[in-house]
C-alpha cells in the first residue's frame, strides 16, 4: 500500500512537472514573481515571530503588500492565459494596464500605512 502511494506520488509529481513545463514563458515569469512575493511575506512573518509585533501597522502593511501584489499578479496571469475562454476579448495591454493601476493604488495605501 505504502509503495503504491509513493509510486503514485512520484507519478503525480512527474505529471505535474511535465504539464507545467508546457505553459508559456510569460506566464512562468508571473508565477516566479508570485512565488517571490509569497516568500517575502513568509520571511516577514518569521521576523515578527522572532522580534515581536511592536510597529504593528508596519508589519501589517508589509505583509499585506506582499500578499496584495501576489493576488494582483495571479489576476493578471488569469487574464493573460490563452486557455481562459472568458478573457479572450481582453487585450493583454489592457490587462497589464489594469494591473499597473491596481498596484499603484495598493502601494499608495501601503506607503501611507507604513508609518
Amino acid at each position: 500500500m505504502v509503495r503504491s502511494t509513493t509510486k503514485d506520488a512520484q507519478d503525480l509529481i512527474r505529471a505535474l512537472w511535465s504539464a507545467y513545463s508546457a505553459t508559456p514563458t510569460n506566464l512562468k515569469i508571473i508565477d516566479h514573481y508570485v512565488a517571490f512575493a509569497v516568500f517575502t511575506a513568509l520571511i516577514q512573518v518569521v521576523y515578527v515571530a522572532l522580534v515581536g509585533t511592536f510597529p504593528f501597522n508596519s508589519f501589517l502593511s508589509g505583509v499585506l503588500s506582499c500578499v496584495g501584489t501576489a493576488v494582483l499578479a495571479v489576476s493578471l496571469r488569469i487574464q493573460l492565459n490563452k486557455e481562459n475562454k472568458e478573457f479572450k476579448d481582453i487585450a493583454p495591454e489592457r490587462a497589464f494596464a489594469d494591473f499597473v493601476l491596481c498596484n499603484v493604488v495598493l502601494h499608495l495605501v501601503i506607503m501611507n500605512f507604513l508609518g
Binding site: N57, V74, S75, E86, I90, D98, L101, V109
Partner: protein, 806 residues
C-alpha cells in the same frame, strides 16, 4: 436588413436618451421629496446625532483637516474628554466639508449649516442613480429605471435622509449601493479596473458608517455560495481577492477601525473565504493541467495528508477565538446576531428606541407595496417570466405534445446568474437583520427596491408585449419586434391576424383556432420552437390591459403613501414641535430657547449635566461643556449621572459637585403633553445607574411593579432628584398639578429645593435649568447639631475635607 439595423440602432439611441432624461428626473424627484421639513419648518438640523456631526463639520471647515484629524474634544464627557479623530467615522464630515470648500472656492457663499442640511437629499439622488446601475447589471435597463424610481421614494430611506437629517446613513447608503454595483460589475466583466474602483468605494463606505461590516460579511458569503453551488469562475477570484486585500488595508487606514480590521471576528469570515478561494483556484488549475486519472490520484494524496494539517490549524484558530469572552465580536455586532444579547448585557444599547425590533405594521409603513413585490422579484430572478404565461395558457395543455412541453420548460428556466444570487442573498440577510432592529430597515430598502424593480419591470414587459403583438396596427412592425429569430418574417402576420380574431371569441373557441394554426405550422419546423415561445408569451388582450391598469394603480398607491410619509411622518425636526389646536398652529421652540439662554447667561467654562440624549445638542447649540452625550461610550460615566438623577437631593448635589457641574438640565413634558421627557426615561436612568452602583435598586421606585408618580408612588421615587427637578412649582400652573403625559395628579405637590435653585424654565415648561447652590461659607458651631443647620454644616465639612488645600 440594413433598414432594420438602422431602425434598431435608432431605437437604441432613442432609448438611451430617454433613459438619461428619466434618470435626471429621478434625481430631481429624490431631492425634492425630502424637502418637506424645510418647507414646513425651516432649514434646520434635526434630532440629536446630526448636531454632533454639524459641530464636527464646523470645526473642520474652520480649522482644516490636520487639526480635525488630531482633535481632542474637552467639551464633552467632562472630565474625560473625547478623542474625536479616533472615534468618529469621518466620511460624512469630510464629504460635507469638501462640498462646502468647493462651493466657497467657486464663490458660492453657502453656510456650513446649509451644506449640512442639504447633503442628505443630494446623496439620495446619487443613491438612486447607483441603484439604476446595480439593477442594470443584474437584469437590464428597464428594471434599473423602475428600481431607481422605487428607491427615490421608499419611506424607510426617506426617514433617515430628509433635508436636515445630517447623519452617517445619508452618505453610507449611497456608498453601500455603489460598492455592490462595482462588485457585480467586476463579477460580470472580470476586469481589474473595476476591482480597484470597488476597493476605493468600499473604503468610502468604511469611512462613512459602522455598517460596513455588513458588506465585508455579505461578499464572502456570496463568494462561498458561488463556490459551493459550483459556480466558481476566475471572474469570481478577480472580484473577490483584490477587494479583500486592498479593502482590509484601506479599512485599517481609518482610525476608528484601525487594527480591528484584522483582529476582530467581524472580518474573519472574509479571511477564511480568502484562503478557501485560493485553495479552490489551485484545485481548478491543477484539474485543468492534469489528466483525469492523475487528478484522482492527486486528490487522494492531498486529502489524506492535507486533512491532518488542516485540522491542526483549525484547532489553533478555534482556541484563539474562544479565548476571548465575546468570541472576538464587538458588542454591537453581538446584539445583532443574538437579538436577546443587548437586553441582558448592554442596557444602553437596549434602551435606544431605534434598536428595538420592528412591529409588523412598520414593514408596511416603511417599504409599503414593495413588501409583496419582493417575493415576486425573487421568483422572477429564478425563472423567466414566461412561467406567468404558462399558468395562463394551461388551458391549451392537451394539444401540446411532450416534446413541446419540455421545450417550453427549458425556455422558462433561465439560469440563476451570479448577480441575481447576490441580490437574493442580500435581501435574505437584510430581512433577518431588519427584524432585529428597526433602524436596519434602512439596509433592507435598497434590496427591496431592486427586487421589486425587477418584478415590476418584467410584469410590464410581459403585458405590453402581449398588447403589442395583438394590436392590428402594429402588425407591419412585428417582424422587427419579434426578437426570437429572423426566419419568421412571413408567419407572424398570420399569427397576429388570427390572434386578432381570437380576441372577440371565448377561450374554447380560441383553442380551436390555435389548433388550426398548429396544423398549419407543423409544416414549418425550424420556426415552430420560436413560435411556441411567442404564442405562449401572448396573453389575452383584455387581461393585459386590465393588468397594466392595476399595476399603474399599485404604483399610484405607493407614490401617494411615500409622499404622505415624507410629509407627515418623517419630516419632523424634533427640535421644534408643532401642534394643531382650534386656534391655529402652536409652535414649541423650547429647546432652542433653553440652549440660547444657556449660551447667553452662563460662563463659557460652566459644565451642564443632563441625561445623555441632550449632550450633542447642548455642545452644538449652547456651546457648553457636558458630562455625558449621545456617544455613550463610557457606561460608568452615564451610570454616575443616572445615579445622581435617582438619588435624593443631597447625594445628587455631592455627585454633581464632584464633577464640577454648575447647571442641571431637565426635560419635562407634563404641562404640554410631550411624551419623550425625562420622567418617562427615568426608569432607564435607574437601570443603568443600578447596573454600576448597586445601592440603586429598580424595585424601590416601583409600587407593585408599576411605575407611578402620583400619591401612590414610593417615597424613594417622590424624593429623587428627577422627580423634584421636574415637578418643582408645577402646582402653580393649574392649582392641581395634573401631569398631561402620565394623566394623573402628582404625588408630592408642595416642596422646596434645598441644594438647587431654579434659574430658567422655558415658555411651555419643557426644559428646566437648575443651578447647584454653592456650599455654605460659614459653619456656625460644630458641636450643636440643630435640625436646620445639620445638612449644610455636614455638607460643607465634608467638602472641606475633600477639597485640596489650595
Amino acid at each position: 436588413m440594413a433598414a432594420t439595423d438602422a431602425q434598431t440602432s435608432l431605437r437604441h439611441a432613442f432609448g438611451n436618451v430617454l433613459a438619461f432624461f428619466i434618470l435626471i428626473l429621478i434625481g430631481v424627484l429624490a431631492f425634492s421629496i425630502r424637502l418637506f421639513s424645510v418647507i414646513k419648518y425651516e432649514s434646520v438640523i434635526h434630532e440629536f446625532d446630526p448636531y454632533f456631526n454639524y459641530r464636527v463639520t464646523q470645526f473642520l471647515t474652520k480649522n482644516g483637516i490636520y487639526d480635525f484629524w488630531n482633535w481632542f474634544d474637552d467639551r464633552t464627557w467632562y472630565p474625560l474628554g473625547r478623542v474625536i479623530g479616533g472615534t468618529v467615522y469621518p466620511g460624512l464630515t469630510l464629504t460635507a466639508g469638501t462640498l462646502w470648500w468647493i462651493l466657497n472656492s467657486l464663490n458660492i457663499p453657502l453656510s456650513v449649516e446649509t451644506v449640512c442640511v442639504f447633503t442628505a437629499p443630494i446623496f439620495s439622488a446619487f443613491a438612486s442613480w447607483a441603484t439604476y446601475l446595480l439593477t442594470k447589471e443584474v437584469k437590464g435597463p428597464g428594471a434599473g429605471l423602475t428600481a431607481a424610481v422605487l428607491l427615490a421614494m421608499v419611506p424607510s430611506y426617506i426617514s433617515r435622509s430628509v433635508a436636515g437629517s445630517y447623519d452617517n446613513e445619508a452618505v453610507a447608503i449611497f456608498a453601500l449601493i455603489f460598492t455592490f454595483y462595482l462588485y457585480i460589475k467586476t463579477l460580470n466583466t472580470g476586469s481589474l479596473f473595476y476591482a480597484t474602483l470597488n476597493s476605493i468605494a468600499y473604503f468610502y463606505m468604511v469611512c462613512s458608517w459602522g455598517g460596513y461590516t455588513f458588506i465585508i460579511n455579505l461578499i464572502p458569503m456570496h463568494a462561498l455560495l458561488c463556490i459551493v453551488t459550483g459556480r466558481y469562475s476566475s471572474r469570481l477570484y478577480i472580484a473577490y481577492a483584490p477587494l479583500i486585500v486592498l479593502g482590509t488595508l484601506l479599512a485599517a487606514l481609518v482610525p476608528v477601525v484601525g487594527f480591528n480590521a484584522v483582529m476582530t471576528s467581524e472580518h474573519f469570515a472574509s479571511f477564511l473565504v480568502f484562503i478557501l478561494i485560493h485553495v479552490v483556484a489551485l484545485v481548478y488549475y491543477i484539474k485543468g493541467i492534469l489528466s483525469p486519472k492523475m487528478f484522482k490520484v492527486a486528490v487522494a494524496l492531498v486529502v489524506s495528508g492535507g486533512l491532518a494539517v488542516c485540522f491542526a490549524m483549525i484547532a489553533v484558530l478555534v482556541a484563539m477565538v474562544a479565548s476571548s469572552p465575546t468570541m472576538g465580536w464587538s458588542g454591537r455586532s453581538l446584539s445583532l446576531l443574538d437579538p436577546t444579547y443587548a437586553s441582558k448585557y448592554i442596557p444602553i444599547i437596549a434602551s435606544v428606541s431605534e434598536h428595538q425590533p420592528p412591529t409588523w405594521p412598520s414593514y408596511f409603513m416603511d417599504i409599503n407595496v414593495l413588501a409583496f413585490l419582493v417575493p415576486a422579484g425573487i421568483i422572477v430572478s429564478f425563472f423567466c417570466a414566461k412561467i406567468v404565461c404558462l399558468i395562463f395558457s394551461c388551458y391549451s395543455v392537451e394539444f401540446l405534445t411532450k416534446s413541446r412541453w419540455s421545450l417550453l420548460l427549458q425556455a422558462c428556466f433561465s439560469p440563476l446568474s451570479d448577480a441575481s444570487s447576490f441580490v437574493i442573498l442580500y435581501i435574505v440577510t437584510s430581512v433577518y437583520f431588519s427584524g432585529v432592529m428597526v433602524r436596519l430597515m434602512l439596509v433592507l430598502a435598497p434590496a427591496a427596491c431592486i427586487l421589486s424593480g425587477i418584478a415590476l419591470s418584467q410584469a410590464f414587459d410581459v403585458f405590453t408585449r402581449s398588447i403589442k403583438l395583438q394590436l392590428p396596427s402594429l402588425s407591419i412592425d412585428s417582424p422587427v419586434d419579434a426578437g426570437d429569430g429572423s426566419s419568421e418574417s412571413v408567419v407572424p402576420d398570420d399569427t397576429v391576424k388570427t390572434d386578432k380574431t381570437e380576441d372577440t371569441q371565448k377561450e374554447r373557441t380560441s383553442k380551436k383556432s390555435r389548433s388550426r394554426k398548429s396544423s398549419s405550422e407543423s409544416v414549418e419546423k425550424p420556426s415552430s420552437k420560436s413560435q411556441i415561445k411567442k404564442r405562449l408569451s401572448v396573453l389575452p388582450l383584455e387581461t393585459s390591459i386590465i393588468a397594466i391598469v392595476l399595476l399603474v394603480l399599485l404604483g399610484a398607491f405607493y407614490v401617494v403613501h411615500s409622499v404622505w410619509a415624507a410629509a407627515e411622518a418623517y419630516s419632523a425636526p424634533s427640535i421644534v414641535l408643532t401642534s394643531h389646536s382650534h386656534d391655529g398652529l402652536h409652535v414649541f421652540d423650547d429647546f432652542r430657547e433653553a440652549y440660547a439662554w444657556l449660551s447667553h447667561n452662563t460662563e463659557v467654562d460652566d459644565k451642564v449635566a443632563s441625561w445623555w440624549d441632550y449632550g450633542y445638542q447642548t455642545t452644538a447649540m449652547a456651546n457648553r461643556t457636558v458630562i455625558v452625550d449621545n456617544n455613550t461610550w463610557n457606561n460608568t460615566h452615564i451610570a454616575t449621572v443616572g445615579t445622581a438623577m435617582s438619588s435624593p437631593e443631597k447625594a445628587a448635589w455631592e455627585i454633581f459637585h464632584s464633577l464640577d457641574v454648575k447647571y442641571v438640565l431637565v426635560v419635562f413634558g407634563g404641562l404640554v403633553g410631550y411624551p419623550s421627557d425625562d420622567i418617562n426615561k427615568f426608569l432607564w436612568m435607574v437601570r443603568i445607574g443600578g447596573g454600576v452602583f448597586p445601592h440603586i435598586k429598580e424595585p424601590d421606585y416601583l409600587r407593585d411593579g408599576q411605575y407611578r408618580i402620583d400619591n401612590m408612588a414610593t417615597p424613594t421615587m417622590l424624593n429623587c432628584l428627577m422627580y423634584k427637578l421636574s415637578y418643582y412649582r408645577f402646582v402653580e400652573t393649574d392649582g392641581k398639578a395634573f401631569d398631561r403625559v402620565r394623566r394623573t395628579e402628582i404625588g408630592k405637590k408642595h416642596f422646596k429645593l434645598t441644594h438647587f435653585e431654579e434659574v430658567f424654565t422655558t415658555h411651555h415648561w419643557m426644559v428646566r435649568i437648575y443651578k447647584l447652590k454653592p456650599p455654605k461659607n460659614r459653619i456656625r458651631g460644630k458641636t450643636k447639631k440643630s435640625k436646620s443647620k445639620a445638612n449644610p454644616k455636614t455638607v460643607s465639612k465634608r467638602k472641606e475635607l475633600k477639597r485640596n488645600p489650595f
